[in-house]
């Protein structure tokens, strides 16, 4: 695509109909829909670090698809993000609310989280 100058802003509108831009916008809409769905059943503090893994995918794509060089600092960043995502993914995805948590139950199990979600929903529907 040629450079768009500020004196011809109409070219920006034409750029929206470029196949690559259309594909980009469609994928961004997909991203937002999946992000909202994730937020509907998981905590924000779980979803945000997990979606940061997208940065790693972008870096790896630019390295192996666009052949851009990646410095040692960036490799270190990739390792840290991967570690962080691995850390957060091991824990429960949703905070258990006291109203739906029977006494004496161990925390941090995915089964309990799912159970508490079912209990929350049955309470709402009552």
């Amino acid at each position: 695509m040629p450079l768009i100058s500020a004196s011809h802003p109409g070219e920006l509108i034409a750029a929206v109909f470029t196949p690559w831009i259309i594909a980009g916008i469609a994928l961004l809409i997909c991203f937002f829909a999946s992000y909202l769905t994730a937020l509907s059943w998981a905590d924000l503090t779980y979803v945000l670090p997990a979606t940061a893994f997208g940065n790693v995918i972008v870096a790896l794509l630019s390295r192996f698809w666009l052949n851009e060089p990646i410095s040692l600092y960036r490799w270190a960043g990739i390792v840290l993000i991967t570690l962080g995502v691995g850390f957060v993914a091991q824990g429960p995805s949703l905070t258990e609310r006291p109203a739906s948590l029977p006494k004496g139950r161990p925390e941090g199990q995915l089964g309990n989280v799912l159970e508490s979600r079912v209990e929350q929903q049955t309470e709402v529907s009552r």
């Binding site: 769905t37 924000l44 503090t45 940061a52 960043g77 570690l83 957060v88 905070t95 979600r117």
Partner: protein, 133 residues
């Protein structure tokens, strides 16, 4: 790191980045609260189809407040990029947002931010900084 030269002083630079971080955090928290109030979208979709799920989201006023703040964050990011170098704005705003979101999630959404999530937030924060810088 702060840009050495330029017409904007330290506090102006800090305010521009703070505006991005604040708007983005407010937007994320409001959107998350909206989605929690709607309920599990997968189940809504199973019950009343994709149109029902879209309707559930679009009829939630809190969702539009959230998206409004996210849009504000985007425009304040553009404003900051107009004044400051990308190598400062991108890593600073992306990594600070992760930490402020962890704090806001704990305070406003009452999420259980345990040691595991703090560690993850800090690791990802440093990682994003290194990657974007």
């Amino acid at each position: 790191m702060i840009a050495p030269a330029g017409p904007d002083g330290f506090w102006a630079q800090a305010a521009m980045i703070a505006a991005v971080v604040l708007c983005s955090t407010t937007g994320e928290v409001l959107t998350a609260a909206a989605m929690k109030s709607i309920g599990d979208l997968d189940e809504i979709r199973a019950k009343s189809g994709l149109a029902g799920a879209i309707r559930a989201v679009l009829t939630c006023p809190l969702f539009f407040f959230g998206v409004g703040f996210l849009a504000l964050a985007f425009f304040s990011l553009l404003f900051a990029l107009n004044h400051l170098p990308l190598s400062l704005v991108a890593p600073a705003s992306a990594s600070l947002t992760l930490v402020t979101n962890a704090i806001a999630g704990k305070v406003f959404l009452k999420e259980n931010v345990d040691r595991r999530r703090w560690t993850a937030a800090v690791l990802v924060c440093i990682g994003v900084y290194l990657l974007a810088h």
